[in-house]
Amino acid sequence: MLEPALRVRGLKKQYPGVLAVAGVDLDVARGEVFGLLGPNGAGKTTTLEIIEGLTEADAGAIEVLGLDWKRHGTEIRSRIGVQLQSTSLFNKITPREALTLYGGYYPKSRTADELLELVQLKDKADAYHITLSGGQMQRLALAMALVNDPELVFLDEPTTGLDPQARRSLWEVVRRIKAEGRTVILTTHYMDEAEALCDRLAIMDHGRVLTTGTPAELIAQLAIPSVVELSFEGAAPAVDGFDARIGAAVEVRGDLWEIPTPDPKSLLPRLLEAAEAAAIPYQQVHVRRATLEDVFLHKTGRSLRD
């Protein structure tokens, strides 16, 4: 039996004025795609960079592929692949050169051509790094994370700055990495991405892991698997006692009223009748399944993008 890909206990990191990581525990099994989900400043990058050996933690124990940083630093580095949140290379290096150069640092490496093909960057293989677009740099960074044929891959916001089509094709790349038997740990702000890619997730906020589980488990944890939405033209009006009348909580979000419910079938007639009676000027009614966004809202009392 192989050691787990990652085991973290009691990780802490204090920056001046902010406890960036406030006691994080994580377990990631081999072959999983594991997601860290959380808003800006949640501590995702700090957590990853400590695990990658870039930042020193104030406290905590880390085992990467069953190895300890103090004694097996070089071996860990040889066996993990890292995409940083922002990768700054020398301005005048080309993707092909960067991949060849970085490949040379490892005991085994994949060819530049193969990797450029994988991330669809062949046509920019010989362009200077500084001339690449944000999305192209992002794809090069992903290719560089795979250059050593790693067992464990860290991707910090791999799809930020990509257009929708490039995002989808990056999801495909991640699925392929998983299919090759590698473990992937990624961070993201995107709910749909987390749901689509991750086998398991940890939701982070203020340096803490709020909850961990598969996307389905997390949603099931909410006793309210559905949400009824009333949409308005322009900003939604104040609730003003309406929630009492229908016997359910109403959350105002932008141009929506959101009413989480375990039983939309019985809520809907009551709701529409009450809305009619109170002359609520809503435009449309929509019933949807609860998402990770709702889990986050429920756990933190605020939306992911706030």
Binding site: E97, Y102, G104, N148
Partner: protein, 352 residues
């Protein structure tokens, strides 16, 4: 192998930055050309004397002028107003003004060396003119010649300048260029991606030192060629020894830049601390003036700085064609600095 690839990549990326490369090579060459041409003059330099023209010249005035003409002086006759203006601008070293009974001479305190020498010549000319006026026989004077001490074989200024320029260039490359580039790359996060690879720090650093070493050696070849074909300065000593001294010096100052760069978080801090090191080293190394007047402890402390033993060894080979036997201790000092700084640089180096 890894080191070699790292070294080649350094060169490749360096060669793509045309502007930086151009200036690295052009700057010392321009310095040498500039200084060399200014001081090339050739013949014995003349001592300038401002002569304030009297309303009516007397016999004693004519006699002094005639006597002065026999000395290597350049006479600048001008009106009292012109002389006053030139004096105020600080350009005059010595000014002689005839009075009713004799002469008055002013020496510029800011140009002591030149002023004293000129004043002495004027005094001698005055004695000569006095003897002539009185019909006495000419006093016999001790002939004086100007020479550069210790460097008998190549006494022109460019020849003296060249090794100094090589040394300064090394020190500024190491302390300013190399160190600064590293701090700013670190500041911009350009090393972070390397930090997550198993590349050993010492290979990365040594790759850079070797790259800079070759850059500097090429610079040196340029300077030597210009010295040779523009100023006719030749290396009096062995090229092998010259290379040896240059390699040692380069390694020392590059390593110093790397070590220093690990003490600064930002380029601004780095600029400050590198200056803090550069200028004392430059002034205390006896390149510009001797430290005879300095306190004893300072003179002894200065012996352990690497710039002056390096320059001494370089001049010994280049200007005097000597071997390095007399410079063993100095070169050991340089080598120890190189090793310590490199060790410190590797130990303290942080990728981010």
């Amino acid at each position: 192998m890894l080191l070699w690839r790292q070294f080649l990549m350094e060169w490749k990326l360096y060669a793509r930055d045309r502007a930086a490369m151009f200036w690295t090579f052009a700057f010392p060459v321009l310095m040498l050309l500039g200084f060399g041409l200014i001081f090339k003059g050739g013949d014995t330099p003349k001592l300038s004397v401002v002569w304030v023209q009297p309303a009516q010249a007397q016999a004693k005035d004519e006699a002094l002028l005639k006597a002065l003409a026999q000395f290597p002086t350049r006479l600048l006759p001008m009106s009292p107003a012109e002389a006053e203006a030139r004096w105020s601008r600080g350009e005059t070293a010595v000014q002689v003004e005839p009075t009713a009974e004799g002469f008055r001479m002013k020496v510029n305190s800011y140009l002591v060396a030149q002023g004293q020498m000129t004043a002495q010549v004027v005094q001698q000319a005055f004695l000569v003119s006095q003897s002539q006026l009185r019909g006495q026989p000419m006093p016999t004077l001790i002939p004086v010649s100007m020479e550069s001490p210790g460097h008998a074989k190549s006494a022109n200024y460019a020849a003296f300048l060249l090794p100094g320029l090589l040394g300064m260039n090394l020190m500024s490359m190491g302390l300013f260029a190399v160190g600064m580039v590293n701090v700013s790359y670190r500041e911009k996060g350009k090393f972070r991606r390397l930090a997550v690879t198993p590349l050993p720090k010492w290979i990365f650093l040594l790759g850079q030192v070797l790259h800079r070493l070759t850059v500097t050696l090429i610079q040196t070849v340029f300077l030597l060629l210009i010295g040779r074909f523009v100023f006719g300065i030749v290396n009096e000593g062995s090229y092998l020894l010259l290379t040896l001294v240059m390699v040692l010096g380069t390694a020392c100052f590059m390593a110093m830049g790397f070590a220093l760069s690990s003490f600064a978080e930002t380029s601004e801090t780095y600029a400050a601390i590198s200056n803090l090191l550069f200028f004392p080293m430059m002034f205390l190394s006896g390149v510009y003036f001797t430290l005879d007047a300095a306190p004893k402890w300072l003179q002894q402390a200065v012996i352990v700085l690497p710039l002056s033993p390096f320059l001494k060894a370089l001049r010994a080979v280049f200007n005097d064609g000597d071997g390095l036997a007399g410079h063993a201790v100095g070169l050991v000092v340089v080598a120890v600095w190189a090793a310590l700084c490199f060790g410190l640089a590797v130990k303290r180096f942080r990728w981010a």
